[in-house]
C-alpha cells in the first residue's frame, strides 16, 4: 500500500503537469480571471489521470503481494 503522503505527491505531480500544460497554451500573460480558470482547469484535468494512476499502482501492488 502507498503512504498517505505518496497520494498527495502523486496528485501534486498530476496537477503541476496539467497546470504547466494549460499555462503554456495561454495567449499572452494570463490576468487574474484567466489564472483562476487555469487552476480550475488543471484541478479537473488532473483528477482522472490521478485516479487511473492510483488504480494501476493498486493492481501492480496487489499482484506483486501474491508472490
Amino acid at each position: 500500500m502507498m503512504k498517505k503522503s505518496s497520494y498527495e505527491i502523486l496528485f501534486i505531480a498530476c496537477f503541476a503537469f496539467f497546470f504547466i500544460l494549460n499555462f503554456i497554451n495561454v495567449i499572452g500573460q494570463p490576468d487574474l480571471p484567466l489564472f483562476v480558470a487555469i487552476i480550475i482547469g488543471a484541478l479537473i484535468e488532473s483528477f482522472t489521470p490521478y485516479l487511473v494512476l492510483i488504480l494501476i499502482i493498486r493492481i501492480i501492488s496487489r499482484d506483486s503481494s501474491k508472490f
Partner: protein
C-alpha cells in the same frame, strides 16, 4: 529601428513610442543578421526578459493605449496588446505565381475583358504565449480581379497551423470563402472560433475563447490590404445549472482589429 505601419484602420496607434521591452523585441527581430527564425528570436527574447515582461504592465505605454502596431523590417507587423500579449500579422505577395483557378473562376477569367488581377496574396496572423512560443497561425490566400468599376474576389485556400506540440487549442465553426461587401469592395476570408478548455456532456470549462477572422480586401481600383479581427470572449465554467464567468462583462469581449500593409495600385485609366 522601426517604421510606422501604413494602415487603413482608425484604431491602430502608430504614433505611440513602444516601451523599452517592446522596442527590445522589435530591435531583436530587425537585427536578426544570422537569419534565425523569427519564432526562435522571439522565444529567446521572452526568456531573457521574463521577469521584466511580467512587471511591465504599469508603464505609461500600456496603461494609456490599448494596442500598438509597428512594422518590422521583414515587412511583418507586430502588435502589442496589454497583459504582455502580442501577435504578428503578415501579408505575403507572390508576384511570380499565376493565380490557380478552379473551373468556375477560369470561365470568369476568360469572359472578363479589360480586367486586371492582383498577385496571389497570403495573409496570416500568429498568436504567441507568454514565453514567446508560437501557438497557432491562421492563413488565408486569394486574389482579386478588378476593372475600375467592380471587383471580384477569388478564394484560393485557407488554413490554420498548430505551431507548438501539446497544443490544446481547438477550432470550431471554421468558415472560408469570399464576400462582396459593396459594389466596389470585396473580401477573401477565413474565420473560426479558436478556444481551449474541455467539455463533457454539456459541462464545459473554456479557458480562452477567441473569434478570429483573417481577410484580404480589395476595391475596384485594385487597392488591396490584409486585415484581421480578434474577439476575445469571456472564460466560462458551466457545470449543470451553474454558469460561472471568470471576469466582468465590462472587460469582455475584447475586440482587436488590425491590418497589414496596404498596397495602392496605379490607376488603370
Amino acid at each position: 529601428m522601426f517604421v510606422s505601419t501604413v494602415s487603413a484602420q482608425d484604431n491602430l496607434t502608430t504614433n505611440v513610442k513602444p516601451s523599452e521591452l517592446e522596442q527590445g523585441l522589435i530591435d531583436a527581430l530587425n537585427s536578426d543578421t544570422k537569419n534565425l527564425a523569427a519564432d526562435y528570436v522571439i522565444a529567446n527574447y521572452c526568456k531573457a526578459t521574463e521577469d521584466k515582461i511580467s512587471t511591465s504592465e504599469n508603464n505609461n505605454v500600456s496603461s494609456k493605449s490599448n494596442s500598438r502596431t509597428y512594422q518590422l523590417e521583414s515587412g511583418s507587423n507586430i502588435t502589442f496588446i496589454n497583459h504582455g500579449n502580442f501577435l504578428i500579422n503578415d501579408l505575403k505577395v507572390d508576384n511570380n505565381t499565376i493565380q490557380p483557378v478552379n473551373k468556375e473562376n477560369e470561365m470568369n477569367l476568360q469572359s472578363e475583358d479589360n480586367s486586371f488581377y492582383t498577385p496571389s496574396l497570403i495573409s496570416s496572423v500568429s498568436e504567441y504565449n507568454s514565453f514567446g512560443w508560437k501557438l497557432f497561425t491562421v492563413y488565408t490566400q486569394g486574389y482579386f480581379g478588378y476593372d475600375n468599376k467592380s471587383v471580384k474576389p477569388y478564394h484560393v485556400n485557407s488554413w490554420y497551423v498548430h505551431n507548438m506540440p501539446f497544443n490544446l487549442w481547438q477550432i470550431s465553426n471554421w468558415e472560408e470563402g469570399t464576400d462582396i461587401i459593396s459594389s466596389n469592395t470585396a473580401e477573401v476570408y477565413s474565420q473560426g472560433n479558436f478556444h481551449y478548455g474541455f467539455e463533457y456532456k454539456g459541462n464545459s470549462l473554456t479557458v480562452q475563447n477567441y473569434y478570429i477572422k483573417v481577410y484580404l480586401s480589395c476595391d475596384q481600383n485594385g487597392n488591396y490590404g490584409a486585415y484581421y479581427s480578434l474577439t476575445e470572449l469571456i472564460p466560462k465554467l458551466k457545470v449543470g445549472s451553474l454558469n460561472l464567468s471568470f471576469g466582468s462583462s465590462t472587460e469582455y469581449p475584447r475586440i482587436k482589429n488590425g491590418s497589414a500593409t496596404l498596397t495602392i495600385q496605379d490607376d488603370l485609366s
